[in-house]
């Protein structure tokens, strides 16, 4: 096939009939605003909003736990710390919600839009996803404490086996919850990285990998979290065996 055939197709493309569908009015836009968009910023927003709502419910349940066990000094201190962590988590997730790239990014260049999305994802959103992952262990903790209270009318001191089961339950809840959240957005991030790489490749400009910084940051974060997890497991083992 030669270039003249392509030029012919180009002319046919340019001669495409004008859009003849229903004209746009504000009612049509109102309908659009109500529908479920697959815009990625909406998915970011939805994930954060749903978790903020869940954490708010957890915070109320924790406040009840705090009240029920107010005579138990050690447990009260622990419950207060967990409640504060939950409230702090809500605050940080709200901040991440406010930092979602907006309309200005959509009307910038494709490259700057992709960079802003990747920057937001690898920075604030990814950190917020670890906080979202904390909801799993928070639900587990609150549920167990409530269950023990209603089943036995109070809490007896935990022994080594209790701590091990409780600790493993918390760790599993976190890993499953955080892992599911990360996996949900992994494919999207790969697509954005591919596009950024494509913008740079095969061009007349020097070839650099624009995703190298993001990948290095991801590696550093994975290492940091792995070390933290290892330290947690060692601490748990020490608590059980001492």
């Amino acid at each position: 096939m030669n270039d003249s055939r392509l030029q012919k197709l180009r002319s046919a493309w340019q001669a495409t009939a004008e859009f003849d569908g229903a004209p746009l009015d504000e009612a049509a836009i109102e309908n659009l605003l109500r529908r479920q968009s697959r815009d990625i910023t909406r998915q970011f927003r939805l994930a954060l909003l749903m978790d903020i709502a869940l954490k708010a419910v957890i915070a109320v349940a924790l406040a009840a736990v705090l009240w029920l066990h107010r005579q138990h000094a050690g447990l009260t201190a622990l419950n207060a710390v967990v409640l504060l962590t939950t409230v702090l988590g809500i605050g940080l997730e709200r901040a991440a919600l406010g930092a979602i790239p907006g309309g200005a990014v959509a009307s910038g260049s494709v490259r700057s839009g992709l960079e802003a999305m990747l920057d937001y994802y690898c920075g604030r959103f990814k950190h917020a996803l670890y906080l979202v992952g904390l909801s799993g262990p928070l639900v587990f903790y609150t549920g167990v404490v409530h269950y023990l209270w209603y089943r036995y009318g109070g809490l007896r001191p935990f022994d080594g086996a209790d701590l091990a089961v409780f600790g493993i339950g918390l760790a599993l809840a976190f890993l499953l919850s955080a892992g599911a959240q990360q996996a949900q957005f992994r494919r999207y991030v790969n697509d954005v990285e591919d596009c950024l790489r494509e913008i740079e490749e095969n061009g007349a400009e020097p070839v650099t990998d624009p995703t190298a910084t993001f990948r290095a940051r991801r590696l550093r974060q994975s290492l940091a979290w792995s070390l933290l997890l290892l330290a947690g497991v060692v601490l748990l083992g020490w608590l059980i065996l001492r």
Binding site: R5, L6, Q14, D25, D39, I40, S109, V110, L114, E205
Partner: protein, 173 residues
Amino acid sequence: MSEPAIMIDRADPSRFLEKLQAHRNIIRKVSWVYGRDAADREDLEQDILLQLWKSRASFDDRSAFSTWMYRVALNTAITFRRRQRPIERLEHEPQTPARQVEQAQLTEELRQLYGAIARLKAIEKALILMWLDDRSYDEIADTLGISAKNVSVRLVRIRTKLAHLIGDTEDAR
């Protein structure tokens, strides 16, 4: 492509909607190029419209409205979250109502062209789309965030690739 600059009154959205309607073909073409199937294209078209509406405050009256539309439409299309299912070739898609409407709007040769473009990579699609629409190299470069020289080099390669893809389709018939 020269186009008179317009003033958008932020308090009166009707003028904005009129301009949007006048350039609605841009949205349709971007959706056809980036959507995986008829349902995906319909969703993408609505997402682009929505994003244009939400971004209207960022429109700078000094630039052409259609250029601004291209930027928003391409940004939306490239970051659009596609359903996770295999890509259907245009000619093999199931006959849904949305698909029937599309088929009525496309001539055989345009169907062939869209089929070949569907096999390009995301940024290649953006480049060829704007080239087909007779946009200047500077405008394409500005929209994508690369240099005009880069646009020119790439377009030569992409046109060759596209010509081969169309040739393959013709040979297969």
